[in-house]
């Protein structure tokens, strides 16, 4: 495959934006159908890139600023790109058939996709920052225009946190360039090769933790999340929880673990503590919520805590688990919100005290509730579903490094079952309100996005390599960087990514190079 193929990965959403403008806003279903073409083509192209080797693309953009259009795919970015394309397509399909201002709505969703996909493809720090910032604008507009009753405050809070995140990331990226030993070069290869002094590494890592911690989010930087998840339209929450939050995790992995290994190793106990606290805080708050959306928001916060724990340990297994957790969580949280969206669309509320008996076989929403139950089971790490292999790898990989934090996170993970059962008991069982249960059942087209995600969650649970295989080589390399003593002990594994192509680590240095440097 020629290098320009990577550029084509960014073109479908752009074309999609143009395409939907050609259709009348009076035909929202047609707009939706055209909008979904972009991410669908992107998904196909990404799959093509997986099967056929695609070398990195280098295009000069603003060399004086250190900005170049460097794109590449490896075992870290490819699965996340696939996830982005998939979740975008399903989020578009999950939008209501009578979506108001459909052209703008879907254009902004596609713009979000463009930003996230660009960030995953980027091999230049400034380009990553550019894409990272690009995401903030459409998502804020989506919340501000189509959000719920408190959309204004949600949007303001979202953009404030997002702006702080962007500014600190800007400072971090510029610092990486300024302190870099090879001049002001922001390409990943150069940043990885730079040997920064420990003090500089510490300061930059602090900025990165703030920037990406806000995006994930992680305790105590999560202030925007519950309100935004409660107010944003469901497709937007699917995007935010499913892929946008993964930018934070990916950033920590790529920049923190990858470029600042010494500082990461030094700070990792604190990062692990933050992950464990997030896991407990998120789970306990989820138990206390009386709104399903907010419950899901805190649930997501808790699971991000597990992800951070995996990153902090930075062992081959824990990093592999962290990537798997990104993918699993992306699918699970999108499925959860797709189901919540169906419940909200039919019943008109997500307030737990107002809902009961939704498992009622004829007048309830038994199909939707069945998928919700499966999603909650997946989030709780029930074997056979996507959450299990991811969480197992995170715990197993982190145990040797941070046993206490792992134990705390394990207990927090168990709390998922508590709020899942509590939610299901109150919303699914009990008496269906005879006066209010006047809604129609969900049709197959409405169920389709959630059903597709359900199949993927089951599929990934039964074939965990689909989650773990992509990143085996990269996570081993990164772990070796932070813990060099492992380099002699770990043989190069056969990976899913490697088996498909030579896409592995075109821009990251190989283990052998590290040993000699």
């Amino acid at each position: 495959m020629p290098p320009f193929t990577l550029l084509f990965l960014l073109i479908p959403p752009l074309l999609g934006v143009l395409l939907v403008q050609l259709v009348s806003a009076e035909r929202p279903t047609l707009v939706r159908a055209l909008a979904v073409v972009g991410p669908a083509v992107q998904l196909l192209l990404a799959l093509l890139c997986w099967r056929l080797p695609t070398p990195a693309l280098h295009l000069s953009w603003l060399p004086k600023l250190g900005l170049s259009f460097d794109l590449a795919l490896d075992g870290l970015s490819l699965p996340l790109l696939l996830l982005t394309a998939l979740i975008t397509a399903l989020a578009i399909l999950a939008s209501p058939a009578d979506q108001s201002r459909p052209r703008l709505f879907h254009s902004l969703l596609l713009a979000t996709n463009l930003g996230v996909a660009g960030a995953f493809l980027a091999r230049n720090g400034l380009l990553f920052l550019f894409c990272f910032e690009l995401v903030l604008i459409p998502t804020t507009l989506l919340v501000a225009i189509w959000g719920g009753a408190n959309r204004a405050s949600a949007a303001i809070r979202f953009i404030m946190y997002g702006a702080v995140s962007g500014l600190t990331l800007l400072a971090a990226v510029l610092s990486l360039g300024w302190y870099g030993t090879g001049g002001f070069n922001l390409s990943y290869a150069s940043l990885a090769a730079s040997a920064l002094p420990p003090s500089a590494q510490g300061a930059i890592l602090l900025l990165l933790l703030l920037a990406f911690g806000l995006k994930l989010p992680v305790f105590p930087l999560h202030g925007w999340q519950p309100l935004t998840y409660a107010e944003a339209p469901i497709p937007v929450v699917m995007m935010l929880g499913g892929v946008v939050s993964k930018l934070g995790a990916y950033g920590l992995l790529r920049f923190g673990v990858g470029f600042l290994p010494d500082a990461w190793t030094a700070w990792s106990p604190w990062i692990a503590a933050a992950g464990a606290i997030s896991a407990v805080y998120g789970a306990l708050n989820a138990i206390a919520q009386s709104d399903i959306r907010r419950l899901m928001a805190y649930s997501s916060l808790g699971h991000m805590g597990l992800l951070v724990l995996g990153l902090s340990a930075a062992t081959p297994l824990s990093l592999q688990g962290a990537v798997a957790q990104m993918l699993a969580h992306g699918m699970i949280v999108a499925l959860l919100f797709a189901c919540v969206g169906l419940i909200e669309r039919k019943t008109g509320t997500t307030a737990i005290p107002e809902l009961s008996g939704l498992m009622n076989p004829l007048r309830g929403l038994p199909f939707t509730m069945g998928m919700l139950l499966l999603a909650m089971m997946a989030a709780a790490g029930i074997p056979g579903l996507a959450g299990f292999p991811a969480e197992l790898l995170v715990f197993e990989g982190s145990w040797t490094t941070f046993p206490r934090a792992t134990l705390v996170s394990l207990i927090a993970s168990g709390f998922t079952a508590v709020y899942a059962i509590r939610l299901f008991n109150r919303v699914g069982f009990g008496r269906l309100d005879n006066d209010r249960a006047d809604w129609t059942s969900t049709c197959w087209s409405e169920r389709a996005p959630a059903m597709a995600l359900t199949l993927l969650v089951i599929g990934a649970g039964l074939w965990p390599t689909a989650l773990t295989g992509w990143s085996e080589t990269e996570s081993t390399d990164l772990a070796v960087r932070s813990q060099p003593f492992l380099s002699s002990a770990v043989p190069p594994p056969e990976t899913l990514a490697a088996s498909g192509s030579t896409l592995v680590a075109a821009t990251l240095p190989a283990t052998s190079e590290l040993r000699t440097s």
């Binding site: 008996g357 009622n360 007048r363 009990g430 008496r431 005879n434 249960a437 006047d438 129609t440 059942s441």
Partner: protein, 436 residues
């Protein structure tokens, strides 16, 4: 404002008693005017007649199989084939319907209803053996009929002398003869009977209730069939007409005997002989209405309860889980008696009800619930007929001119309506067509 050219309205006679101040005053005034608890609307009439017909077909199976179990299966310790009534019982002519009947009151009734026989042959799935239909659960749900029987057995003392008779020496002697005859040559069962006589006696009592309910429904099935036929012929003008047909039917068969005969090796054992004098109205109809319409039991899946928190009354007479109080929304849950009945009726809905259900709520998807609510309406009408029949038997005519008599009627109606003051009662809901 009345236009000047309008003719003067006819003078209306002043009521002899003041209006009721009961919460259900409107319903009471309607009953006093000879109406039903169910408002008189064309749609209500259509709904109740349609569901009577859909109910009558499975009921035609219920009564035959109930009698088959009571008279033939009897104490079989492994009654695996009790839902397979013999051809003799399927061909059993109805005692009160058809030209062959010496006591003919209603039409039809020579054999089992043709729609029932067709369903038994084909079911939902298609033609296959009876056993496969049974195992696939593509059949009439006799479990519902047994649940009704068990409600009568369990609640027991609800008027009439039937319950007391089951403890009499005469009944025990007859039952003892039947038990010994049934297990003749079976030392194991006879030994068990010697050790645990009450256990066997309890089983015979249960069989007597099988017979009781079978004989009750033998009457009701042709009543409902004929109501459907009359409606199709344009015979009923409104809900009160349908109710009065039921009242007349109740009086027509009120005195018919309730008995329990068992056939063992060709010999008939009269466990409850006809000469005991038990009648259809007092020993079957009224206990049935009380046990099934009002009381029953909080079926799992239809009612959440906690007996330790006193959410279930300690006095059985306070039970209120019958169809007049039931939340029909859980219908569709697997295996519960309400679902079983609605599923039975679903197979025999007249086309006009099918069409009606398609137009409302989720159409075909929630037909079981819609027909369940129709059934609830229809049973309020049947209960109205029973209330009017009781008023007729015990009190005064509705057109009586003595205010004291009218007040006695009023007190009776108000006492009946008091039973629907509890929040679970669906009487307020059925007053509008919005409840579906």
């Amino acid at each position: 404002m009345t236009p000047p050219t309008a003719t003067a309205p006819e003078p209306v006679a002043a009521p002899l008693i003041p209006p009721s101040s009961h919460r259900y005053a409107d319903v009471i005034h309607r009953l006093e005017a000879g109406g039903s608890m169910l408002p008189d609307t064309p749609e209500n009439l259509m709904q109740i007649i349609g569901i009577y017909k859909a109910y009558a077909v499975p009921m035609d199976f219920y009564w035959r199989d109930l009698l088959y179990i009571a008279e033939q299966v009897f104490l079989d310790p492994l009654p695996a084939f009790k839902y397979f009534p013999s051809q003799e019982y399927l061909d059993l002519p109805n005692s009160y319907a058809g030209d062959q009947s010496k006591l003919r009151i209603w039409r039809g009734g020579e054999k089992a209803h043709p729609e029932l026989l067709e369903f038994m042959e084909k079911g939902e799935t298609g033609k296959m053996s009876k056993l496969l239909h049974h195992l696939w659960h593509d059949r009439i749900n006799m479990e519902f009929a047994e649940a009704c029987m068990e409600a009568m057995l369990w609640h027991q003392g609800m008027g009439g002398r039937f319950y007391d008779y089951l403890d009499s020496d005469a009944y025990r002697a007859n039952a003892d003869r039947a038990i010994k005859a049934y297990f003749r040559g079976n030392p194991l069962m006879l030994g068990l009977y010697a050790l645990f006589p009450e256990m066997f006696m309890e089983q015979v009592k249960k069989m007597s209730y099988y017979a009781n309910l079978g004989l009750f429904w033998e009457v009701m099935a042709p009543v409902f069939f004929e109501m459907s036929d009359i409606y199709d012929e344009g015979g009923f003008k409104g809900v009160p007409d349908a109710m009065n047909f039921l009242v007349n039917g109740i009086f027509a068969v009120a005195g018919r005997p309730i008995y329990h005969h068992v056939y063992i090796k060709g010999e008939c054992f009269e466990i409850i002989p006809k000469s005991a004098g038990f009648t259809w109205l007092y020993e079957a109809a009224l206990p049935y209405v009380e046990a099934v319409f009002y009381r029953t039991a909080p079926f799992r899946g239809t009612k959440s309860y906690n007996a330790q928190a006193y959410q279930v009354p300690s006095d059985q007479a306070d039970f209120h889980y019958g169809i007049l109080y039931a939340d029909v929304f859980p219908v569709g849950s697997a295996g519960i008696p309400p679902t079983l009945l609605m599923q039975d009726m679903l197979h025999f809905l007249p086309p006009y009800l099918e069409e009606l259900y398609k137009q409302h709520k989720r159409g075909d998807e929630d037909k079981l619930i819609q027909l369940g609510i129709t059934f609830q309406r229809s049973m309020y009408n049947v209960t109205s007929a029973v209330i009017q029949a009781l008023r007729c038997a015990l009190l005064y005519p509705l057109d009586d001119t003595d205010p004291e008599h009218l007040m006695a009627n009023r007190r009776f109606f108000e006492a009946q309506m008091d039973r629907f003051l509890r929040p679970e009662a669906r009487l307020p809901q059925i007053q509008t067509q919005d409840y579906r």
